[in-house]
Symmetry: C2
């Protein structure tokens, strides 16, 4: 029986991936060199499609790394000399904070209870970077875009890094209010894992160059100046996950053909159906209390019956996500990504309401 | 027209990859979590097959990183406090040296002309690590295994790291004479790129642990203690390139079924055919003069007619490799990996001899 993945990443592959992968192998994409013209074209197409999809301008360059976790570490290494601040409301925002601490920086954490979003602090002027997680995959909290705008107003000269790992391409960011935005491809884009994508603007690049001129011993392999020098040529530093970059260029094209507005409308509809079902369901209820903070792409319910729910869905060939970390046995997480169909989400909603 | 890749990596996919990839997608391998039982089994199968194929024991752990370049940087970060020594005879051994220098270590280089292999030095007692490239992809020089044994006799307590990127699984190493051995999958294993594999023994692990206890700020994302802690559970630190790990587990299985001895015999035969053709060819001759140093897996010719040769083969749907770096226009590189067929290699040899 075919299984359908509603886990919050890796998740169900975008419905066109199988076909693209077949064509990739037939056309030798797994064998091309990362300094060949064919590779340059693939990289360039991925960049152009991401630009159109997200709406960022030429001031941003697109870098390919191996995962969002790696990107967090590289952001700290390349843009934080002494001090970073982190809005922490879940496991992934905490991970970013941990990277900074581990690398010996003065890492400030602005906490809020998991399931909420921190108030924007007015006392972190000395930080060189402010990091926030737009969509906390661990709790299903989505920060309103206004929070980023508020940060930018208060700290016009501080770098702002935004983790959009599990919301992209849903959220519509104002890229003038951010400096670095990153994601991995195994969530909303529905690709097999193994590729992180970092969008980085001129301010962040300038900071990285300054840091490297002060300290020549910052690790060089995935240093931002080297990655950017290569990215301008539409190349990567090392032989990369070429297949994933190819698939990203293809899936973004499919999404542009469908239209982001249509994708967003469908996600909004499916999210409404799932939250409504969780309100009515006997065995679970929405974890995030503040409706304005409820993620549209990772929908989290709190329950005393997680095993029963997971099993009931598993029998129907549908894999829901367990809770994350400390919520492992008390939460159910359901991803609502572009590839998930309205019809199947409606079935999931019905079963949630029926389960006793 | 289908193109056949004889480039020295990425190269032609192993002939079973297309089928494995199709099954992977159908079985949801692109969607599984890296802490799931299915992932544990895939990781474990890859480890077991690599053990059987290479013949290393339980004292080695198998780590998955994103590329051989990343592995070089991580080896320096994790096992070299102050001083490393590098036998440098081409672009990739030089790259390893460069990583050490970039990270602020005292990096000693023991050079020999490109196309040869350095004499084993007797004066690098103070180095914590000795690095060598068993098969220099940039020049087609393969170091005799005795060189490693000689190093081990002279320096019984120094860590020895061996780059087998473009020779694996051909070479038969004595794993008691090495401490770290690494490769990437887009060469002899014939996989799409995006995965580096590090075999690491207890001595190297102990050194890494000591270094982390002295300096807690060594980057933690792909630190060896963290990678090893996860590897023991058959997990990776981040969501990895799952498809590549899966394909590695499958292709190593296919290679075990065929038998490494048979694969080695075929590679020996094909190498003999190609070198013989280069000796006879009007337009090129073998670059490596010392026959004992000639690589069996990356066969390099020197020529004044590289464009003419590449074009003639391209017209037949066969892609040979250009020279590397400074040899870009004066060398031709031909990979001779397990997937390359005897019949096609014989055709290549014939055409080399005919071309005027």
């Amino acid at each position: 029986m075919k299984k359908f993945y509603y886990t919050p990443g890796p998740s169900e592959l975008y419905f066109t991936v199988e076909q693209h992968l077949r064509e990739a192998v037939q056309n030798g994409i797994g064998s091309i060199h990362h300094r060949s013209d064919t590779f340059h074209e693939i990289y360039d197409r991925a960049v152009k499609n991401l630009r159109l999809l997200f709406g960022f301008g030429d001031e941003y360059e697109v870098l390919f790394l191996s995962s969002a976790s790696e990107i967090m570490e590289r952001i700290i290494q390349n843009t934080v000399q002494e001090k970073s601040a982190h809005l922490v409301n879940g496991a992934f925002s905490e991970r970013f904070y941990n990277f900074s601490e581990k690398l010996g920086k003065e890492a400030i954490r602005v906490d809020s209870e998991w399931g909420s979003f921190p108030n924007i602090p007015d006392d972190i002027q000395n930080s060189e970077l402010i990091a926030l997680t737009l969509n906390e995959t661990s709790t299903g909290v989505s920060a309103p875009i206004e929070k980023i705008n508020q940060l930018r107003s208060l700290y016009p000269d501080t770098l702002i890094a935004v983790d959009v790992v599990s919301s992209a391409p849903y959220d519509q960011l104002d890229f003038e209010k951010t400096d670095m935005v990153f994601l991995s491809v195994q969530k909303g884009f529905g690709l097999p894992p193994g590729l992180g994508v970092l969008l980085i603007n001129k301010h962040a690049r300038k900071k990285a160059e300054e840091m490297h001129s002060i300290n020549p011993h910052i690790p060089g392999f995935h240093s931002f100046p080297v990655l950017i020098k290569n990215a301008i040529k539409r190349e990567t530093t090392e032989t990369p996950n070429t297949l994933a970059i190819y698939l990203l260029s293809k899936v973004t094209e499919d999404m542009l053909t469908k239209g982001l507005e249509q994708i967003r409308r469908e996600i909004n509809y499916k999210a409404a159906v799932l939250y409504q079902a969780m309100e009515e369901a006997p065995l679970l209820s929405p974890f995030v209390q503040d409706k304005n903070l409820r993620s549209k792409t990772v929908i989290v319910g709190v329950t005393d019956h997680s095993e029963k729910i997971l099993d009931a869905f598993d029998k129907k060939g549908i894999l829901l996500g367990k809770g994350y970390g400390k919520f492992k046995n008390s939460h159910i997480r359901i991803s609502n990504f572009p590839t998930h169909s309205k019809e199947q989400v409606e079935q999931i909603a019905d079963l949630l309401v029926e389960l006793k």
